[in-house]
């Protein structure tokens, strides 16, 4: 799934450069615990989380994850958005819960 398709499916507010939108993602990992993400996350995947602090960006960056979806209607601070942008990580915000978000991604074709 591309970041564009994901954003449409979860009705997300997007903070990303236009050229990032067509990047094809291979999988997803959903957790509020960053250590679990660091144990199981993979490159070119999307991080789905309800946590909101700069460490979500660093965690994604360390794993070469190219997109973060912040769920449950949380709004990222300017600092977090800038940190994501400087590391070429697309930031998406959705009002959906983590469960709904994962369901939409699974339905859309992300299966691992």
């Amino acid at each position: 799934m591309t970041i564009r398709e994901i954003a449409e499916r979860i009705d997300a507010v997007v903070y990303a450069e236009p050229e990032q939108m067509d990047e094809d993602l291979s999988g997803a990992f959903a957790s509020d615990m960053m250590s679990d993400v660091l144990a199981f996350g993979e490159g070119h995947a999307v991080l789905v989380t309800g946590l909101l602090n700069p460490q979500i960006v660093r965690t994604a960056h360390m794993l070469d994850m190219s997109c973060i979806i912040v769920v449950r209607g949380k709004v990222a601070s300017e600092e977090i958005k800038q940190l994501a942008a400087s590391n070429e990580i697309a930031m998406l915000e959705t009002k959906m819960t983590m469960f709904e978000t994962c369901g939409k991604l699974y339905e859309g074709g992300l299966r691992k």
Binding site: S35, Q55, H61
Partner: protein
């Protein structure tokens, strides 16, 4: 720990008073290894393991020193702190065991995966810890 005198050496101070900036040394190491042209999978393993170590230093030990040595066949990451030390290393190596305070869990860490992740991603992990004195973690990554 004595390192090969031909090794490239990089030093970073890990600020223990600022959770927001935790991980910055790992970010710099990741950038440097990319510039040096290492394989992305190796860079990911090194940066994740070092990041976990950095977070641990901030959570448990008020920061410390991070040193990275690069030789043609190995990258060594040494994290040294003068924190409380690890009482039971075997217990600390168990996935899910954590002594981190609750406020750390609300920040997304303290799941008891730090040391297990460091072991998972490194080729060799040496923990040298003395209660009341401090902890030195040495991680080796074969690059050839």
């Amino acid at each position: 720990m004595t390192e090969d005198s031909n090794a490239l050496h990089f030093h970073y101070d890990v600020d223990g008073n600022n959770f927001t900036s935790a991980g910055e040394a790992s970010v710099q190491v990741k950038r440097m290894l990319r510039q040096m042209g290492y394989h992305p999978d190796l860079i990911r393993r090194i940066s994740v393991a070092m990041y976990e170590g950095e977070i641990n230093m901030v959570i448990h030990a008020k920061g410390g020193d991070a040193d990275v040595y690069v030789t043609p066949d190995c990258i060594t990451v040494i994290l040294k702190d003068v924190g409380p030390g690890i009482k039971d290393v075997n217990l600390a190596m168990q996935e899910g065991y954590s002594t981190a305070p609750d406020n750390i869990r609300s920040l997304g860490f303290g799941a008891g995966m730090g040391l297990p992740n460091m072991k998972r991603y490194s080729d060799e992990l040496i923990i040298d810890s003395v209660v009341g004195v401090g902890t030195t973690i040495t991680m080796k990554f074969k690059s050839a």
